[in-house]
C-alpha cells in the first residue's frame, strides 16, 4: 500500500497547480457544506428547542379525537345502521373529573402535569378595553411544566396563591394599557362576572403576540369568575424526555379518552417543512461537493492520460490492473482527505463568522445570534461525503488506467 501511496503522491506533486485547484474545490465544497448545514440545522434545533421549551410537550384538551359513536351503532356494530340529523347533546365543557385524570397522568414515569382553565376575558382600565386570554393555573404545578416562571420579570408566579385576586400579565400588555405592578384592573368574564384584580407579576417571553394577550390567575379564582367551579379545560404535560411525547400522548389519550396532542403532532406541518428544507439544503450542498469532485475527476483523468506510458511500464514490471486502479483511487482519496481536513477548518471559521451575525426575528423583541449547530455528525457527514465523492470521481479514470494494455503503449512508443 505504501508503494501505491508513494506513486500516487508523486503524480499529484507532478501536477501541483491542477491538484491545488481541485483541492481548493473540495475545501470550499466542504466549507460551504458545513456553513450551510450548520446554520440550517442550528436554526432547526433552535426552533424545536423553542417549541419544546416554551410550549407544553403534550396538551390534553376537553375534546375528543373522533365523535362519540351513536348508541345504535354500538348496539348493532355489524348492522346497517343509518343515522341522520343527529343533534349533539349540550354538555358542560371541560375535562370531566380532571383531578382523577391528573392523577392518572401523574402516575406515568417522567411526567409532570398541570391543569388549566383557559378562557377569554376583557381587561378594562382607564377607559380602554382589551380582550385577553385568561388562564387559571396552579402555580406549584405550573412551575415544573411551563417555562413561564423563567420569563417572570417582576413579582413571582406563586404570588397569585398569596393573593387570590392577583393576576400576572405580559409586559407588552402592561405597556399597552399603561399598567404597572400593584395596579388594579377590572376583569370581565364572558358570563358577565366582573372582578378587580391586582397586578402581582409581569412576564416577557420575547413573543410580542403572546405577551400582549396572555394573562394568568389562580385556577380557583378563574373557575369562580367563569362560573365553572371545579373545571379545567386543559392539562399540559411536560416530559423529562421531550422526544417521548408521541408515545406518552397516545398512552394518556387511551387512559383518559381526551384528545392528547404531542408537540410533534401539533407542529407536524412545521416539522414536515423542516424535513423538506433539509432535503433541499443537502441536495444543494451535496451538489456543491459533487461539482468540486468534477475537478478531481479532471485532474486524475489528466494524470491517467499523461501517465499512460508509466502505467504500461508498471504493468510490464508485473503490477496488476488492481494496483493501477488503487494508485489512482488513492490520488482521489488523498485530495478528498486533505480537502476535507482543510474544509473542516474553513467550514468552522465560516460557521464562527455566521454565528457572530445578530438578527431580530419577526415577533421578537430581542436580537439573537444566528443559531449554529456544532454537532460532530455533520462534520463527519461532510468529510465522508467529500471523500466518497472524491474516490468515486477518481474511480472512473482509475478503471480506465487499469485497463491499459502495456503492449498497445509500448508498440506506439517504440
Amino acid at each position: 500500500m505504501k508503494l501505491h501511496f508513494d506513486i500516487a503522491l508523486s503524480h499529484l506533486r507532478g501536477r501541483q497547480r491542477q491538484t491545488i485547484v481541485s483541492l481548493f474545490g473540495v475545501v470550499l465544497g466542504v466549507g460551504f457544506f458545513l456553513a450551510v448545514s450548520g446554520l440550517m440545522r442550528g436554526s432547526e434545533r433552535d426552533l424545536i428547542e423553542r417549541l419544546v421549551d416554551t410550549a407544553p410537550h403534550i396538551r390534553v384538551s376537553d375534546e375528543f379525537r373522533d365523535p362519540r359513536p351513536q348508541p345504535a351503532r354500538t348496539l348493532y356494530p355489524e348492522g346497517a345502521v343509518a343515522i341522520r340529523g343527529v343533534k349533539p347533546r349540550s354538555e358542560r365543557r371541560g375535562i370531566r373529573q380532571y383531578k382523577q385524570k391528573l392523577a392518572t397522568i401523574d402516575a406515568i414515569r417522567g411526567v409532570q402535569a398541570a391543569p388549566l382553565l383557559v378562557s377569554q376575558a376583557i381587561f378594562s382600565f382607564a377607559g380602554q378595553d382589551e380582550a385577553v386570554t385568561l388562564s387559571g393555573i396552579m402555580p406549584a404545578r405550573m412551575i415544573g411544566v411551563s417555562a413561564i416562571e423563567n420569563d417572570i420579570t417582576a413579582g413571582r408566579l406563586d404570588a397569585i396563591d398569596a393573593n387570590p385576586n392577583g393576576i400576572i400579565i405580559g409586559e407588552a400588555l402592561a405597556r399597552k394599557l399603561s399598567l404597572a405592578m400593584n395596579d388594579t384592573v377590572s376583569v370581565v368574564s364572558p358570563v358577565g362576572n366582573v372582578r378587580t384584580m391586582k397586578i402581582v407579576g409581569l412576564f416577557a417571553t420575547g413573543n410580542s403576540g403572546y405577551d400582549e394577550s396572555q394573562t394568568f390567575a389562580q385556577l380557583t379564582r378563574v373557575q369562580a369568575l367563569m362560573n365553572r367551579p371545579d373545571v379545567a379545560n386543559l392539562i399540559i404535560v411536560r416530559l423529562d424526555d421531550a422526544y417521548r411525547a408521541q408515545d406518552v400522548a397516545r398512552t394518556i389519550e387511551t387512559a383518559t379518552g381526551y384528545k392528547s396532542v404531542s408537540w410533534q403532532e401539533s407542529s407536524k406541518d412545521l416539522l414536515d417543512a423542516l424535513t423538506v428544507r433539509n432535503i433541499i439544503m443537502y441536495s444543494v450542498v451535496g451538489a456543491i461537493l459533487l461539482v468540486a469532485c468534477f475537478g478531481i475527476y479532471n485532474v486524475i483523468s489528466t494524470v491517467v492520460l499523461e501517465k499512460t506510458r508509466d502505467i504500461a511500464i508498471l504493468k510490464s514490471m508485473g503490477f496488476h490492473a488492481g494496483d493501477i486502479r488503487r494508485i489512482f483511487v488513492i490520488e482521489g482519496a488523498l485530495i478528498g482527505v486533505a480537502g476535507s481536513a482543510l474544509g473542516v477548518a474553513v467550514g468552522s471559521l465560516m460557521m464562527r463568522g455566521v454565528q457572530r451575525i445578530e438578527i431580530k426575528p419577526p415577533g421578537s423583541v430581542e436580537s439573537i445570534s444566528l443559531p449554529i449547530y456544532w454537532g460532530w455528525d455533520q462534520f463527519l457527514l461532510a468529510a465522508a461525503f467529500a471523500i466518497l465523492s472524491a474516490v468515486f470521481a477518481a474511480w472512473l479514470p482509475a478503471r480506465k488506467g487499469g485497463r491499459v494494455q502495456p503492449v498497445d503503449i509500448l508498440r506506439g512508443a517504440a
Binding site: 511500464i313 508485473g318 490492473a321 503492449v407 509500448l410
Partner: protein
C-alpha cells in the same frame, strides 16, 4: 533444459484490415542462453518478444515458462509471472521520472514484497554499483545520461532476480560507447549469472555476442541455414 518454449505462436490483429503480426512461431530458449531476434522493420520482432514476455496473448499457440503452460492464465497471473520471473529492458529507458534511480530499481521489489525494505534498498544499491552507477543512486532520470538511464533500467529489470531478461532494442537509443557497455552487461548476465537473454536488435555488433539468432520476416521465423547450406560458398 529449456526455460521458455513457444509452440505455434500466432498473433493476429483484427480490424478493418486484419494483420498477422506473428505466425506459427516455435521458439525454445535454454537457461543462460543469449538469443537475439532480428529482422527488417515491421517483421514482428517486438510482437514476438511481447508474446514471449507474457505482455501479449497469442491468438493461437502457447507459451510455456519454466514448464508451466501460461495459455489459460488470467491477466493477474500473467502479471505475477512477469513480476517474479521476467525482467524487461526497452529501447527507451522508461524510468519513472518522479523517482530516483534507486527508487526506480526498488519498484518491482516493493511490489513483490519478498524482501524487507532495508534488504530491497541494499539490493538496489548493489545492482546499481554492479552496473557502474556508483554515485548516481539518488539522481533522478533527468539528471542521468542516456547510457546511465539504460543501465538503471537494466538494474530495475534484474531487481526481482528474473530467470529471463527480455530486451527490446536496448541499444537503439544509445551512442556506440554506451551500446558496447550495455551489450557487455547483458552478455555477462547470461554467461556469469545464467540468466536467459532474449533481445530484439537491429545492431549487428550487439547481435554478434549472442549465442543464437532468430531471424523473422513477415511474422514468420526463418529456419536457420543447415550446416550443408552454410558450407556452400
Amino acid at each position: 533444459m529449456s526455460i521458455l518454449r513457444a509452440e505455434k505462436l500466432t498473433r493476429k490483429l483484427t480490424g478493418e484490415v486484419p494483420v498477422t503480426l506473428v505466425a506459427d512461431a516455435d521458439v525454445e530458449i535454454s537457461r543462460g542462453e543469449f538469443v537475439v531476434i532480428q529482422g527488417p522493420s515491421g517483421s514482428g520482432k517486438s510482437s514476438l518478444l511481447y508474446l514471449l514476455g507474457l505482455l501479449d496473448r497469442p491468438t493461437s499457440g502457447r507459451v510455456l515458462l519454466d514448464g508451466e503452460d501460461t495459455s489459460g492464465f488470467d491477466e493477474d497471473r500473467m502479471a505475477q509471472l512477469r513480476l517474479e520471473k521476467l525482467g524487461f529492458v526497452f529501447q527507451f529507458h522508461f524510468l519513472l521520472n518522479e523517482f530516483s534511480a534507486v527508487d526506480n530499481v526498488m519498484m518491482p521489489m516493493r511490489r513483490l514484497a519478498k524482501l524487507s525494505p532495508a534488504q530491497q534498498r541494499e539490493r538496489a544499491l548493489q545492482l546499481l554499483h554492479d552496473l557502474g552507477l556508483e554515485g548516481q543512486e539518488y539522481k533522478r532520470p533527468s539528471q542521468l545520461s542516456g547510457g546511465q538511464r539504460q543501465r538503471v533500467a537494466i538494474a530495475r529489470a534484474l531487481a526481482n532476480d528474473p530467470v529471463i531478461v527480455l530486451a527490446d532494442e536496448p541499444t537503439g537509443a544509445l551512442d556506440s560507447k554506451s551500446s558496447d557497455n550495455v551489450r557487455s552487461i547483458l552478455r555477462a548476465l547470461a554467461t556469469e549469472q545464467h540468466r536467459s537473454i532474449i533481445a530484439v536488435t537491429h545492431d549487428a555488433n550487439f547481435a554478434s555476442v549472442a549465442d543464437r539468432r532468430i531471424e523473422i520476416v513477415d511474422g514468420r521465423i526463418v529456419p536457420p541455414p543447415t550446416s550443408t547450406a552454410s558450407a556452400t560458398p
